[in-house]
């Protein structure tokens, strides 16, 4: 039996608190900029929150940039997105960048062979919040609500914009949704069901209800940091007190390596493997066993060992239990290599993008591997672990070939990806 074909990444795109596209994101990572501040995402009446919101995102402008190369997609997008949700518009903006770079549409890739997987569930909570308040005030239900509250609606929207007609669905695995979506797409390509797949990490449009819910669970940080919000997110630091919400989306085009090579599209990196391990636990608690299994399964699926890993993009949310558990898991998996393998958490720069985090962080891995640098850990002054090799306050330069990227979600989801550097 032939070995499954390798799966490469031929397009990436992102919009987040630091950047409106992938090249700007690469620069912001290298510079170690922080996108976290004090914001009023639900209007001034709902108070201020420490968060990493998007600054001045204009979907018409973001889509309009692609008019020259993807005119028909842009025309359809204007129509599809006009009636759509903030999260869907953000997904589309990231997807435009990735699809354009991968030249899927320009090269006339068979649409029935291209899938769409949207990472994330409960994406439109703010719509429900707004709708309930509007109804309470005697208003009518937004005519778009019946369509727009559906997470899976984003699959249809992206499919219509880019004319993709292979399989498609949305996947929910809380903060491991991105890893889950990439796990799914990777398998579809390896098994030959699809030739290419657009994977989009969708932004969760939260309302004050969800943030207060997270706060009650003790998971949300930011309390006491109103005067210095940029210091609130401190993964693996002794003063870590909870995660900081970030807005953002990310998109990757995955493709069979042989087809990408035949088209002459450069590989931006390889998805070497993806693994998911469940804890069998409905609570938010992290599990050492589950995290270790996910990482070991991912390494085994890639045919690699700890010796082959140069860098770990940690889940690292800045919650005390989560950070401690991940440190223990990394020590267990890396063994003697713990002192040699670099570790950072992108969340200290762009916050926790929840359902989009795994996809955005996979992009961060590729940008770093290809750019020959690893971004700093912000606010990591007193590490809780002395054995692991955390990147400090400055970026590290070097040659890094293989990364492990973790994502762990409430409800016992543990996801791990192994990513390889792109073509030189």
């Amino acid at each position: 039996m032939n070995a499954p074909t390798p799966v490469v990444v031929t397009g990436v795109g992102t919009v987040n608190a630091l950047a409106g596209d992938a090249p700007a994101f690469a620069k912001a990572l290298r510079d170690g900029r922080c996108g976290i501040g004090l914001a009023a995402p639900f209007g001034e009446t709902q108070g201020q929150w420490v968060a990493a919101p998007l600054a001045g995102f204009d979907w018409r402008e973001a889509i309009g940039r692609h008019e020259g190369s993807l005119p028909e997609c842009v025309t359809r997008a204007r129509k599809v997105l006009r009636n759509n949700t903030p999260s869907a518009r953000l997904s589309a903006a990231a997807a435009f960048e990735a699809v354009r770079q991968a030249r899927l549409v320009q090269d006339g890739f068979a649409p029935e062979r291209v899938g769409v997987v949207v990472a994330g569930s409960n994406l439109h909570q703010q719509l429900a919040w707004d709708g309930a308040r509007r109804r309470e005030a005697g208003g009518t239900v937004d005519p778009r609500y019946g369509l727009n509250f559906l997470d899976s609606g984003q699959v249809g929207s992206l499919g219509e914009i880019f004319g993709l007609r292979g399989l498609g669905y949305s996947v929910g695995a809380a903060s491991a949704s991105g890893q889950m979506a990439l796990f799914q797409a990777w398998h579809w390509l390896r098994s030959g069901v699809l030739d290419a797949c657009l994977v989009v990490g969708a932004s969760m449009d939260l309302s004050p209800l969800e943030l207060e819910g997270f706060a009650l669970l003790g998971a949300l940080g930011g309390d006491g940091y109103a005067e210095r919000p940029e210091q609130a997110c401190r993964p693996f630091d002794r003063d870590h007190r909870g995660f900081i919400w970030g807005q953002g989306s990310g998109a990757l085009v995955l493709e069979r390596q042989d087809l990408a090579a035949a088209r002459g599209v450069p590989s931006l990196g390889e998805i070497r493997s993806a693994a998911i391990a469940m804890d069998g636990n409905h609570l938010p608690d992290s599990s050492l066993d589950g995290e270790v299994r996910a990482m070991r399964d991912a390494l085994a699926a890639a045919g690699l060992g700890a010796a082959d890993i140069d860098y770990v993009n940690a889940h690292g949310t800045s919650t005390p239990l989560g950070d401690r558990t991940e440190c223990a898991a990394l020590r267990a998996v890396l063994g003697e290599r713990a002192a040699a393998v670099w570790v950072n958490s992108t969340k200290s720069l762009i916050g926790h993008c929840l359902s989009a985090a795994g996809v955005i962080e996979a992009i961060a891995c590729l940008l770093q591997l290809n750019g020959g640098f690893l971004h700093p850990n912000l606010n990591l002054l007193a590490p809780i672990d002395s054995e692991l090799r955390f990147v400090g306050r400055q970026a590290v330069a070097g040659t890094f070939s293989t990364a492990l990227s973790n994502g762990f979600g409430f409800g016992g989801f543990n996801g791990s990806l192994v990513l390889g550097r792109g073509q030189d």
Partner: protein, 93 residues
């Protein structure tokens, strides 16, 4: 007088409502040539999808401060009939 003549005449209030409907059509279907939006045209003919059609009706109702059950609007064949139903509800209020 043929029946189509009587149907094509609009009362003053219908005409006013039509102007509101027309502005909502142009708001929802923003690429449309304004000259295309005449009372005889249906939303379907103008390129509105199912969501656009509901939105036009809702936006017009919002502006007129009316609430009409969707079933009452289900049978309207064109913008004139839509304006007529809306105007009748306005008059009845």
């Amino acid at each position: 007088m043929s029946s189509s003549d009587s149907e094509s005449r609009m009362s003053g209030s219908e005409q006013q409502v039509f102007e509101i409907v027309r502005s909502k059509v142009l708001e929802v279907l923003e690429d449309l040539d304004p000259l295309q939006v005449t009372p005889e045209r249906s939303l379907l003919e103008l390129g509105a999808n199912s969501l656009d059609r509901v939105e036009v009706a809702m936006l017009a109702m919002e502006e007129l401060e009316l609430r009409i059950a969707p079933s009452e609007l289900a049978g309207v064949a064109n913008l004139r009939e839509l304006s007529r139903v809306l105007a009748q509800h306005l008059d009845a209020r």
